[in-house]
């Protein structure tokens, strides 16, 4: 019985890892620095995490089908580069914004085509588009940073009904994604496909369409995350969006989305994961930590996220092992 209690406890801890870690992180940093708990610091965290959280939301769709999209950082860069070129070339701002989103969706569609039509493994396809996108962006920008007009920064710092623009975008994306994933046929079919793609096909789900859609969504979210980021920075540097794929995957996985597919949520899951990462970074800054520590802490977080996912999955498999002698089984209800 005690063994069972321990088992139940570890299961509960694994399942609620993200909120538990969030509490621990809050406790640690508030002890380290009193400024951490200041009211507008939390708003700052929310604003700073918006871009990554939006990218991670798109990533969640892909991860739920047991796929992966490594190209999101490069997609951010390419679409920003295209838009930057247009703005500097005198095109209107709204057209540039539309171009960003369109480029993102096209990049996603390219990934999707390679995966569903050419049947290339998602990891390899998106690894290739990661390099391709970065290269294309560098070629477009001639590896120079592009400083964009003031008007863009004004959008970034705008408030609509009192809500900062990045937070508003984040809210819309997360809510829409949550509704799609939990309340639509498409969303539930994504989960079914992540659970067992073969069974999903047999049940009459068009798995190719689902797969196509999730990569387009991921490309769109990457571009939108890029747009929010540009509006905050006012410039596109050659390293724009660099390694953002890791932050996005880490956010989703920390929030409980499984790399093995079929498990996890955007709300609270991925959002909480993204906030957790940003809170840690923010805390490190406020506690005056050595900047060289940041990448080390970041990599530790990614490691922890993947470890948690792996542990959760092992536990799941153990609980689903086939029982040959049912009489030996502990009675159930």
């Amino acid at each position: 019985m005690t063994e069972k209690a321990v088992n139940n406890l570890s299961q509960a801890v694994l399942r609620h890892a993200a909120p538990l870690m969030f509490l621990v992180v809050l406790a640690v940093f508030s002890l380290l620095s009193p400024r951490f708990l200041a009211g507008n610091n939390f708003l700052n965290i929310l604003i700073q995490s918006a871009s990554t959280a939006i990218v991670a939301t798109g990533m969640t769709f892909v991860l739920l089908t047991a796929g992966i999209d490594l190209s999101v950082g490069s997609v951010m860069f390419v679409s920003a580069a295209v838009a930057g070129k247009m703005v500097l070339g005198g095109q209107p701002l709204w057209l540039a914004c539309a171009a960003i989103l369109l480029t993102g969706m096209l990049s996603g569609a390219f990934n999707a085509l390679c995966i569903t039509w050419l049947r290339i493994v998602p990891f390899i396809v998106t690894l290739a588009t990661l390099y391709f996108g970065r290269g294309l962006g560098l070629w477009l920008t001639e590896t120079r940073a592009m400083n964009l007009p003031e008007s863009i920064l004004r959008i970034g710092s705008a408030r609509i009904a009192g809500i900062p623009f990045p937070v508003l975008m984040l809210g819309i994306v997360v809510l829409a994604a949550h509704l799609v994933l939990t309340r639509t046929s498409f969303g539930r079919q994504i989960y079914a496909m992540g659970n067992d793609a073969d069974a999903a096909r047999k049940a009459g789900i068009r798995t190719n369409r689902i797969q196509f859609a999730v990569y387009v969504i991921s490309g769109f979210c990457a571009a939108l995350g890029g747009l929010v980021s540009i509006a905050q920075l006012g410039a596109v540097s050659p390293s724009f969006g660099n390694q953002r794929e890791f932050a996005a995957i880490a956010a989703a996985v920390l929030g409980g989305v499984s790399l093995f597919g079929g498990r996890g949520s955007v709300l609270p899951g991925t959002l909480l994961g993204a906030l957790l990462i940003q809170t840690i970074e923010n805390g490190l800054v406020i506690a005056n930590a050595d900047p060289y520590l940041y990448p080390l802490v970041m990599s530790a977080i990614i490691f922890l996220a993947v470890l948690l996912d792996s542990l959760r999955n092992q536990q799941l498999r153990r609980s689903q092992r086939r029982i040959i002698r049912p009489s030996q089984k502990p009675s159930h209800g």
Partner: protein, 512 residues
């Protein structure tokens, strides 16, 4: 006899499902020939046959997973040719599988409706409607659980009821049960049987496939026996007895397939297993294996034979018991260390576990023996090549001259010979073979048996797991029969009888 006048149901009701002259072959090997069956609404047809008799193929045809090469089917009076499982569902044919086909990460309600969910006027899933309908269907199968419960938190028996509820939700006219009781407790089984009776009363036709003959007698109105892809017996339940069913299932076959043994097992024990147990998997397994002996393990699918092999080889944990090889205890060792002690394992699934499909024949042969052919860190290529060529000739692999051909281009039988050759290069003390002739043609089978005997002649102990009683009788010196994770019976070669072995493997318990 067949048309004794009393069959009132046959006269008043015309059959719901009618199959005639169904034939199917894979790669020139015929698995179904001239199969004929008829089933009326509100009746239960029991389908029995040994493993490999063609039951699954017949069910796959009914379920739209594969299409027949010959014959025709009629459902409810009109032509029935499902091209996909979804199409079969549309016609009102539903399956309750042995391996359940539910999405464990979704709720019961979602599983009942996927992929076509009811929608509200905003295009979102209409959850209240879905819940109400699900609750109704769950009541019909007497499952008193919230429709929002995730399937992963249900027991196997409850999941099965959910599958039946799904079939009812799809307005199934015909439900096919494939070994439905294998993972159920006795209470869950009773509940399932009560439900089957109720469905029968509602006019739903059912096909019930099972190895548990008493259950088949209890539930079914009519029976049909398949053997080697042909119907060898069919009729009303009262025309059959358990003895007659077993005789029909086993049949009589030619025995020239099996080479004669010219060596005898040696007296000394090479492997000793005592009281090996793992809760929920195997219980109190004890046996000894002598040098040069071929010990067969018979049993039905799911009896725990493969699981036993995995535990012996160190792939799965065991809670208690001991395993020794040549007197050395190995139960605490890793798989690698067990291989070093002389244990070898030919897996059930050679495509996934036993072979590197894209690598050459010679590379596959050399794989496990590599440490024996190295000096320092380098491989002694000439010595290895010589040994590999010798082995390839000895197991008679029909491939390219230098054995550089990828394994995936070989036939099933030749692939299996590569796997055997791979382990033989190591001169194992004990070789575990799990279904070594599955998917292998007759000619190659005979050669595989010859290699097994050849290996036994060199003094290795061989554990031979097979679902075909026929080949166990032909090849083994002694037989263990497993049932529900325990050894149900042991037979010496002199006492081998198909009927008794099958009787022990089936769950009829007291007598065959």
């Amino acid at each position: 006899m067949y048309c004794g006048g009393a069959g009132n149901s046959e006269i008043t009701m015309k059959p719901l499902l009618e199959c005639s002259q169904i034939g199917k072959s894979y790669f020139g090997v015929s698995v179904l020939r001239g199969v004929k069956l008829a089933l009326a609404a509100g009746s239960v047809l029991g389908l029995v046959g040994e493993n490999g008799a063609g039951k699954s193929t017949l069910m796959n045809i009914l379920g739209g997973v594969t299409q027949p090469d010959a014959g025709s089917m009629r459902l409810d009076g009109s032509e029935y040719i499902p091209k996909t499982p979804a199409e079969a569902t549309g016609y009102g044919v539903a399956f309750v599988h042995q391996e359940l086909n539910l999405f464990t990460n979704l709720s019961i309600a979602e599983n009942l409706f996927i992929p076509a969910f009811p929608k509200n006027k905003f295009g979102f899933i209409d959850r209240p409607q879905m819940r109400t309908k699900t609750a109704e269907l769950l009541r019909a199968v007497s499952l008193d659980i919230s429709p929002d419960t995730l399937v992963e938190s249900l027991s196997p028996g409850e999941r099965q009821l959910v599958e039946i509820a799904r079939a009812l939700g799809q307005n199934a006219k015909l439900i096919i049960f494939d070994e439905p009781t294998t993972s159920l407790t006795s209470r869950e089984t009773d509940r399932l049987f009560a439900l089957i009776e109720r469905l029968r009363a509602q006019g739903i036709a059912m096909i019930y496939i099972s190895h548990v003959l008493p259950d088949v007698f209890r539930l079914c109105d009519e029976m049909i026996v398949l053997r080697d892809g042909e119907v060898v017996g069919s009729g009303r339940k009262d025309e059959f007895t358990t003895e007659r069913l077993i005789t029909l299932m086993v049949g009589r076959r030619l025995d020239q397939l099996y080479p004669t043994r010219d060596t005898q097992p040696a007296p000394e024990t090479v492997m000793q297993v005592s009281d090996l147990s793992q809760p929920g998997v195997i219980e109190g397994i004890s046996f000894e294996l002598r040098r040069g002996e071929v010990l067969g393990i018979a049993g039905l699918m799911g009896a725990g034979r493969t699981e036993l092999a995995h535990i012996l080889f160190g792939l799965d944990p065991c809670a208690r018991g001991s395993i020794t090889i040549n007197g050395a205890e190995i139960s605490a060792l890793s798989t690698r260390e067990r291989i070093a002690c002389g244990l070898a394992f030919l897996t059930e699934n050679r495509r996934e576990e036993g072979l590197l499909m894209d690598a050459a024949i010679s590379d596959n042969l050399a794989l496990t023996a590599l440490p024996q052919f190295t000096s320092g860190a380098l491989i002694e290529q000439p010595r290895l090549t010589q040994a590999v060529n010798q082995m390839a000739a000895s197991v008679q692999i029909r491939g390219g001259g230098q054995h550089r051909q990828p394994v995936k281009t070989l036939s099933g039988g030749n692939q299996q010979k590569v796997v055997l050759g791979k382990w033989l290069l190591r001169n194992p003390a004990v070789l575990i073979l799990d279904e070594p002739t599955r998917g292998v043609d007759v000619g190659a089978r005979s050669e595989i048996y010859r290699i097994i005997h050849q290996l036994a002649a060199t003094g290795a102990g061989i554990l031979f797991i097979s679902s075909e009683i026929e080949e166990l009788i032909g090849v083994c010196d002694r037989l263990l029969v497993m049932q529900r994770g325990a050894i149900a019976a042991r037979f010496e070669r002199a006492e081998f009888s198909r009927e008794q072995i099958l009787g022990a493997a089936l769950q009829s318990g007291e007598k065959p």
